[in-house]
């Protein structure tokens, strides 16, 4: 664990110096994410100006939901997003070799080496939105609920990581992956807008278990709103354990398959 922290520290320092080479891009990261947040806010407002509640959730719930996904988005964009995005390219052009020979977990290094801390700023309006939503619903904000909310958000952050990696591992076997990135884009885009409480029957099974994007902001929102039971933790823990296991297995299987581009 200590080694991981040390690697993280070194990567972070070198990343900041590297980003300062492209100052224009460094500052645009926050600006870009801010624009995305604004667009989601306008979309949210446009839909909610038409109706009072969606699937039993009022405007306050939806504000917490959108704010929660914004926080999640800010943290994964700021940490592993751009690194994991590079994975298929590294597999295709053989650059993965350079990571495999280093005395560090290669997936950890690839995931963290492209951190873009400018994106984390976006979590501020996200937190603001969650607080606004909580005020709208007049939630008592019990410290236990807040801790539960943060804990669930952490679980979802790791689950999102597993999903992102899993969507890119097929690069070991396939040359072109646009179908996975298109599917992921669609799922993430809707995770911002469609709360899990809307899903029923087979859709609930698909979007909670098979492609669990439906859980991402829904479970933390339900915990903060005090509408969740222990089953939510069981569901989140079970799904995360399953996806972590799958990611680990497929990653190692992919590495066995990997021939490097130049060999």
């Amino acid at each position: 664990m200590k080694q991981y922290w040390q690697v993280l520290k070194v990567v972070l320092t070198s990343r900041i110096s590297r980003q300062m080479m492209y100052r224009f891009s460094f500052w645009t990261a926050a600006f870009v994410d801010g624009s995305l947040f604004l667009i989601q806010l306008l979309t949210f407002n446009a839909i909610f100006s038409q109706v009072e509640s969606i699937g039993g959730w009022q405007r306050g719930h939806m504000a917490i939901f959108v704010g929660t996904f914004t926080i999640l988005d800010a943290f994964y964009m700021g940490t592993y997003f751009f690194g994991v995005l590079n994975l298929p390219e590294f597999i295709r052009n053989g650059q993965l070799d350079l990571y495999l020979v280093k005395p560090v977990n290669p997936l950890f290094l690839i995931s963290t080496e492209s951190m873009d801390l400018g994106s984390i700023i976006l979590s501020i309006p996200g937190i603001g939105m969650v607080m606004w939503g909580a005020a709208q619903l007049q939630l008592p904000l019990n410290p236990l609920w807040i801790l539960g909310y943060i804990g669930m958000l952490l679980l979802m952050y790791v689950l999102m990581y597993c999903l992102m990696v899993l969507m890119r591992i097929p690069a070991f076997w396939l040359v072109k992956l646009t179908v996975f990135s298109n599917l992921e884009n669609a799922m993430v885009e809707f995770s911002y807008r469609v709360p899990g409480v809307m899903f029923k029957g087979v859709w609930k099974f698909i979007l909670y278990i098979l492609l669990p994007y439906g859980l991402m902001a829904t479970l933390p929102t339900q915990i903060l709103a005090g509408e969740s039971r222990w089953t939510a933790w069981l569901l989140a823990g079970g799904v995360l354990a399953g996806f972590w296991y799958l990611m680990d297995r497929l990653w190692h299987q992919g590495l066995r398959q990997y021939n490097s581009a130049s060999s």
């Binding site: 600006f31 995305l36 979309t43 100006s49 038409q50 509640s53 646009t178 179908v179």
Partner: protein, 266 residues
């Protein structure tokens, strides 16, 4: 004539390159349904409390979703812009400076190949998902729909010119990934790919009418639904005018900014 032949040649090579990945294309057609299904779930929940949202009924909204998601896939194609920016960054852009063909012409050829390939895929996808949601499809058939044969390609050409002009900023700033993502976010929203623009405040929609993005996705799909009051000729003129603006801007910028290009590796 020579230019047309060269553009056609580049487009044909792009087509050939894209045809290699047939499995990817077929899977994309199948998974394109994810957006339609999620939109269906969202709007079904919203419409459970109301019969109409703005001027839209649930079937109109689903029809809008099926067509707008595919039109967005088609019109937001900006691979050529990403390629130009990445080649500037890597220094391989230098090869275009010695090619016996204009840089804009080359990237137009690339775009044309990718756009026509996507057009075919989008038409098949619309057919598949319109059949899957046939109970919700409302398309009033009338002779005016012929206008779409002009509006859609014109929207595509405008987007090509716009994306090309934006990507040329890389000559000065080198790393423009953030700018390209920012541009995509704005275009996606302003073109009506996320939600019908009618759901936005009136003043905002009126402002958007003078921008070309209004006519790239929202207008053609609304026109198809028979829910558009503005004459199609006006839409074509706005698109043509803005295309000209961006073509001239790209030309001017290419002439004046090429001196910033450092040509890494030369």
């Amino acid at each position: 004539m020579n230019t047309v032949k060269k553009v056609g040649g580049i487009a044909a090579i792009t087509w050939k390159g894209l045809l290699i990945y047939r499995a990817d294309a077929w899977l994309n057609i199948v998974f394109a349904g994810a957006r339609v299904i999620l939109t269906f779930l969202l709007w079904s929940a919203v419409f459970s409390a109301k019969d109409r949202i703005g001027d839209y009924t649930l079937p109109m909204m689903i029809t809008y979703a099926v067509f707008s998601t595919q039109l967005a896939q088609l019109q937001h194609k900006d691979d050529h812009a990403w390629q130009l920016a990445s080649e500037v960054r890597a220094g391989t852009f230098s090869k275009y400076l010695v090619h016996p063909f204009s840089i804009t012409g080359h990237f137009f050829g690339l775009w044309l190949g990718a756009w026509t390939h996507q057009l075919l895929l989008s038409l098949v996808t619309i057919l598949v998902w319109a059949l899957a949601f046939w109970r919700y499809m409302v398309i009033p058939v009338n002779a005016d729909l012929v206008w779409l044969l002009i509006l859609v390609p014109l929207g595509g050409v405008f987007m090509m010119a716009f994306n090309h002009a934006v990507s040329l900023a890389s000559l000065k700033f080198t790393e423009i990934t953030g700018l390209l993502i920012f541009k995509s976010n704005l275009v996606e929203f302003f073109s009506g790919a996320l939600i019908p623009l009618q759901l936005l405040p009136d003043w905002f929609e009126r402002v958007l009418r003078i921008t070309p993005f209004y006519y790239v996705i929202y207008y053609p799909v609304n026109f198809l639904l028979g829910a558009e009051n503005q004459p199609p000729l006006r839409a074509c003129l706005v698109l043509a005018g803005w295309t000209l603006v961006f073509v001239l801007a790209a030309r001017y910028w290419l002439r004046s900014a090429h001196r910033f290009y450092e040509g890494v590796g030369i």
